[in-house]
Each structure stands twice: as C-alpha cells, then as structure tokens.
Amino acid sequence: MRKKEEGTILSQKEIVPGIFDLRLEAPDAAAEASAGQFVNLYLDDPARLLPRPISICGADPTEGALRMVYRVSGPGTGTAELSRMEPGRTLSLMGPLGNGFPLGQAGEGRVFLIGGGIGIPPLLQAAGELLDLRGRSDHTDVILGYRDRNDFLAREFEPFGHVAIATEDGSLGTRGTVLDAIRAENLHADVIFACGPKPMLAAVARYAAEEAIPCWISMEERMACGIGACLACVCRTKETDGHSNVRNRRVCKDGPVFRADEIVF
C-alpha cells in the first residue's frame, strides 16, 4: 500500500522575495521522483485540510532528499506557513504524484525547455535528466520567463544547456515573453517541454502547432485529493477521455503533463 510519508526539513531559504527553496528528507518519494511530478504537502493544521501540491525541482535518491522551489501565494494561504517552517521539523507528504515529462520523446533532437515564473522549478530536474539521458547539453535550449530582474534558478540551468531569459519589464534578457526570447535569439527546436502560467502555455501550444513541433505542457489547476478521485482539477480536452468518458482529463492523475495539442485553452 502507498501511504503518506513523514519528511524532515533539511533546509529552507528565500532565494528571491516570495520564492522559497525547500529541501526535505523524504527517501521514499526521492527514490521514485522523476521530472514533472509533484508531491502533496500536508500542513498538519486542522483548519487547513487540503494538501498543497508542489512540483518537484530536484530529487537525490542517494541522499533521500527532495528539493522544492515554491512561491508564497499570499498570507494565510498555507504556503506562508510552510515558508516559516524550520529545519528539523517534520512535514508529511505524499508522492511522487502525476506522470512527469516524457523526456525520452526528445530523442537526439533539439529541445526547448520553456518555463515561466513558478513553472520553472520542475524544468531544472528535467534539464538534469535530459543531460543524463543524452550525455550532451548542446541540443538543449532553456528559455525562462520572469516578471523582472528577480530571476531564480537561472544559473543552475547553465550546465544543462543554453539559457535564454525573458522579462516582462526588460530588466533582464529579452523584454517580453519566452516566445519573444526564442525569436530574438533565433532558436529552433524539434521537441518542446513547458511549464508555466496558463497564458504562457496557451501561447507555447499555439507556437508549437504553427511550427509543427511536438510539445508537452505541464498544467496547473486547483486540486483536492491529488490522486485522481475527486475530479476537482480537470482540464478541457479536444477528445473524449477514456477514463472520464467526457472531454476532461484529471491534471493530478492523467497529468500534470499533457500533449499540448490535446488541450483546449
């Protein structure tokens, strides 16, 4: 039987305002986690019953450690409480959950890893796994979109590929969106993996369709159970799904990663 795991906080720090880097000793989850999956974190507070689904940024099976980089979404939202937890504190979690990125689809082709805002962390693990898989970094372009010069994790991508940055205010890299950065640097891909806010994913999906590039995107939706039972976190699909028997798929169980051309935005 699968069950919740009792993790222990190894370290936690605020890397840029509002973005926290949490390392957790959780050997069971760390042993299985692959890029694009998430864990449910439970706050152990009877007033806050629902788990917080947080994407995995890195997993070290030897150390039994998981890394999560998350945003505090506001006071009293649960992530604020999480950000105040000190090393040594236990924290229950369940996972890894969800399907993860099908990185094998990259083959030998040129890959875009496109991340926007708090969608960036899972791509760091994807970038590392892609290098392990292919033994080369020169066919990987990492395109990261931030609001402003408060970038995070960007330098950590450098061993895994070429890093291009876009900021909304132009304070770093190309001014504009991740697609503006792709055009400005004249980058080309055979396969795309992306994670970020819905408008970014919609734009990336459109771009991939126009350029006929196979594209996988990681979707986000409000969740409750995290294991595919409650049907809270569905996304609209073009075709009828085999499990739901309607044009809906479960982000937590069938996703969070989907073929971009399956999804209706």
């Binding site: 039987m1 699968r2 069950k3 919740k4 439970y42 009877p46 007033a47 806050r48 019953l49 629902l50 788990p51 506001g74 649960g78 369940m94 939706e221 409000r222 969740m223 409750a224 159970c225 995290g226 294991i227 595919g228 039972a229 409650c230 049907l231 809270a232 976190c233 569905v234 996304c235 499990h243 739901s244 028997n245 309607v246 044009r247 809906n248 169980k253």
Partner: protein, 290 residues
C-alpha cells in the same frame, strides 16, 4: 456490513484510485461518486476552494455515465469484500429511474439517491428541498429499485425532519445526511469569486456540529436507518454521529487530508469502543442521553 464506516459519495471516486492506499475490504461499504444515465462534463474550474476547517466544491457531478460505470467500476469493486453503494444522480425523475433500473441487475448492494447536490442547476437539490418532491421522487425510484434505497438529504432546508419523514413516506429504506452546505468564497484582492460556479458545497469538520444536529433531528423523525456524515475526521467523530442516531457513517473530506483516513477512523472507533466498554457498535446508535 462488516462495520459502520463507509465513504462519502464524491470523495472516493469509484474506489479504484484509493485502492492503492486503502484495503477496500476493510470498509463497511464503498459509496461511489454519483452516476447518471449518460456522461456529465461537470462545471468549469476552479471547482474547489479551501475554507477555514473545510472546503467548498462545485465539481457538478462529472461522471462517466452508467454504461462505462457498469462495465468498469462495478466489476472492479466486486473484487473486494465490501458492500457497494452506488450514488445515483439525474436531472429529471426519468433520469434517476433509468439509472436505478439499469442497476437492478448489477451486483450492487445499496442505492443512494442524490437529491441534494447544490452544484447542478436542474435535478439534484431541486428534488431535495421540498417535502412533496422528496416523497414523489422516492416513490418513483422505489418502483424500479431492486436494492434498498437510501435517500441522500440536503442540509439546505429549514426542517430536516420534514424531509426525512417525506423520504420515509415515499418508501425509502434509509436516509443519509448531510450533503454539503451551500457556500461562497470571494478573493478580496482580485474581487472575484474563487469558484467558477460562484457557489459550492461546504464540507469538512467546520460543518460537523450542523450535521450532528440534523442527524439527531432526522433520526428522531423516522424509523428507517440513518447514515450520518459531515466532517468526520476521527473515530470519536464517528461515535458522535452514531450517538446522535446514525446506524452507519460516511467519511468524506478527511479522505483528502489522508487517503487512509477511513481505515484510521475505523480503528479509532474500535479504540473508542474498547475504552468505553462498548461491546457491540450498534449499542452506540442513538445512545445520547440528556
């Protein structure tokens, strides 16, 4: 039933997802997510929001329809030594009856008729907030049912006793309550509704006192068994509902806090019985004293 702990409809899917986390054979019954005569797409997202001590949901009874349900979900559940209670939903009396008739030949033990969903425009709660309508739909469903019929009642009424009596008058074999309480959450920074449906059904421990009161009132109004639910998180919560008059209990929102909540609650209920010298769990039913 092996024991009085069941799952609350909509929180446990059709058992399959939870079977990785819970031995379904330890449950008194698995109560499935509501199923209609044809597939329903449900409401737009966001469908859930957390609130203090509970949550709101407006899933809108997304379901795969009775055909796929009978082909896939019933055979799956039949592998386990547990009772199967199928929750039935519909927009019209005919739709409820069609599903009930379809289930007559299936290896299903009990039917729970959902006349109390606050998240669908037609059907659902429209049948569950007027005593005459409750009696009519109960009578109609009973004509087609082979299995015992449990009517699931809404708390969004002035007199739960009237609704309970109406279900009994219509021939119900039992009643279950409470379904969720209609609520709303507004994001004050964005000045927008948090749920796409604007309103949603509130569940979780924050509604438990309301549920216990209603179970007590309903149990005193009828002779048929009552299934109690609403914010059960512990074995003592389960005992509280039974003391108020419930014959069995359903665990709902707690499944989201811990997928193994049902079996934990069952073992806590056993601890409670040992601690209080209760030999038979049925001794608890309605045993509250003034």
């Amino acid at each position: 039933m092996n024991n009085p702990v069941m799952t609350a409809s909509g929180t446990f899917g059709s058992g399959q997802e939870f079977s990785e986390y819970v031995d379904l054979g330890r449950l008194g019954a698995v109560v499935t997510k509501g199923v209609a005569n044809h597939p329903w797409e449900g409401n737009p997202t966001p469908r859930v929001a957390e609130v203090y001590g509970g949550m709101l949901n407006a899933v809108g009874l997304q379901n795969p329809g009775i055909d796929l349900f009978c082909r896939r979900d019933i055979p799956f559940l039949s592998q386990f030594d547990t009772r199967i209670m199928v929750n039935v939903c519909g927009h019209t009396e005919e739709e409820y009856c069609e599903v009930v008739e379809r289930l007559a030949e299936e290896p299903v033990d009990l039917l729970e008729i959902n006349i109390s969903c606050p998240n669908v425009r037609e059907g659902g709660i429209a049948f569950g907030t007027d005593p005459a309508a409750v009696e009519t739909i109960t009578r109609a469903v009973k004509r087609y049912a082979r299995q015992p019929v449990i009517m699931k009642l809404s708390p969004n009424v002035t007199s739960i006793a009237d609704m309970a009596r109406a279900a009994e008058a219509g021939g119900a074999d039992g009643i279950s309550l409470i379904n969720t309480i209609t609520g709303m959450k507004i994001d004050v920074n964005k000045r927008k509704f948090v749920l796409a449906n604007k309103t949603g059904g509130m569940s979780g421990p924050a509604i438990k006192p309301v549920a216990v009161r209603m179970v007590y009132q309903a149990a005193h109004a009828v002779r048929i068994p009552v299934v109690g639910m609403g914010g059960i998180m512990t074995g003592e919560d389960a005992a509280e509902f039974m003391l108020a008059g419930a014959t069995a209990v359903s665990v709902g929102t707690a499944n989201f806090t811990d997928p193994a909540a049902t079996v934990r609650i069952l073992s806590e209920l056993e601890d409670y019985m040992r601690r209080t010298g209760t030999e038979d769990v049925n001794e608890l039913i309605g045993a509250v004293t003034e």
